[in-house]
Symmetry: C2
Subunit: 237 residues, 2 copies
């Protein structure tokens, strides 16, 4: 029989430790062996074996700089496939408790190359409610040019000609939100405009004061952002 070798990918993601590493890597940044070992709760030598396996499966690429090795997902297709899996995978049972404890954790975060978390879902809802975006047939369609006006963003023609919004199932919200090229542009712009900032330490993204104002004024997200003023990223224990 002619078959794609799902099993090779399956082997790679079949282990809980590797799953945790991949979830970490979904943030889009590079991570060192040590960071990923800590995220997975194993020793560095075990993590090393896992990462080698993930590399062999083609999910992860490594780059050596000095005495450090930086690992990241090998491409957007991988992130997209993992997202798709997350849509059908059960959630970690520890999740709900942890989320309560962690508070603001993951309110805003990056999902490989676009925004995710409750705020991203709220943004998508607001864009639809205001007529800037249309949901149909399982996809998001921008109402020509409108979406950019809604965000108050000026974008290059190249992007205007390819404003395709791929839906993405959020891990925590289980709701669709904007991914794809448009999602990437929104994240990029939000970072460039200073609405969001990657904190030096820890996970997630910080909403800056101008970011608060912009999202509240342009999309009416004041209430969704209510608990976030001065939000610092939260660490576990």
């Amino acid at each position: 029989m002619a078959t794609p070798r799902f099993d090779i990918i399956g082997q790679a993601i079949a282990d809980a430790s590797r799953t945790r590493m991949l979830c970490e890597l979904m943030e889009g940044r590079s991570f060192t062996n040590k960071e990923l070992a800590s995220a997975a709760g194993v020793t560095p030598q075990t993590a090393s074996a896992h990462l080698r396996l993930l590399q062999d499966a083609g999910l992860v690429v490594a780059e050596k700089r000095g005495r450090c090795v930086f690992h990241r997902l090998s491409g957007p297709e991988v992130a997209q496939a993992l997202e798709q899996l997350a849509a059908i995978a059960p959630m970690d049972s520890l999740y709900r408790a942890q989320r309560r404890k962690a508070g603001g954790l993951a309110q805003v975060r990056s999902c490989y190359d676009h925004l995710a978390g409750p705020v991203a879902v709220a943004m998508t809802d607001a864009l639809i409610a205001r007529g800037h975006l249309r949901e149909e047939g399982g996809g998001f369609h921008p109402v020509a040019g409108e979406i950019w006006a809604g965000l108050g963003v000026c974008l290059p023609d190249r992007v205007m000609r390819a404003p395709f919004a791929r839906p993405c199932m959020d891990w925590t919200e289980r709701r669709l939100h904007i991914a794809g090229p448009m999602g990437r542009q929104i994240l990029t712009h939000a970072l460039e405009a200073g609405w969001l900032r990657r904190p030096l330490r820890g996970r997630g993204l910080e909403v800056t004061t101008p970011g608060h104002r912009a999202l509240a004024e342009r999309l009416g997200l004041g209430s969704a952002l209510a608990g976030l003023s001065g939000l610092k990223s939260c660490e576990e224990a």
Copy 2:
């Protein structure tokens, strides 16, 4: 850490036998234990264990009718996730040889709920070349109404209002083709109009004589269909 349990899905697809079963199930129909055991090359009792596992992972549902149990993928999300994985998974090395031997096998087939195979790819290309479909930002966009005229198909308003075409990476061609709601409509129509037929035995779909004529005249696919006249589905060995 809050994580989706990729590993549960991973465990389920981590085995080559289960991979073969899933590929079989991707056709979209229901299959019995015995059929799937044969497809995977294992005994029925082993297949039974595998299917139980796939069921526990939520990938497959079983329906008991009389003394037979029919298994099928639990939903479109599963098929979509598997497609996405196929895009990043290496192909079975036996594949190329088998494909040559099998000849017409898989020239046209269903991929869960839409068309796949070389002919589906050619259809997509033809629709783009003729201006009925636009590819941008990683998605396909119908040029309003035109695609249906191109296919000579009259479809309900409901579909016209939601003509979203999700791209799908074909297993064999490694090329994008039409999936999503539009893909489902195209497959449904092709079956209803008698252009395609599910053979009683064997895999894939048959292109009927009217189907040949319709695709050649409307989309200029005469050459793509050249080797297929009177095509019967091919069995292995």
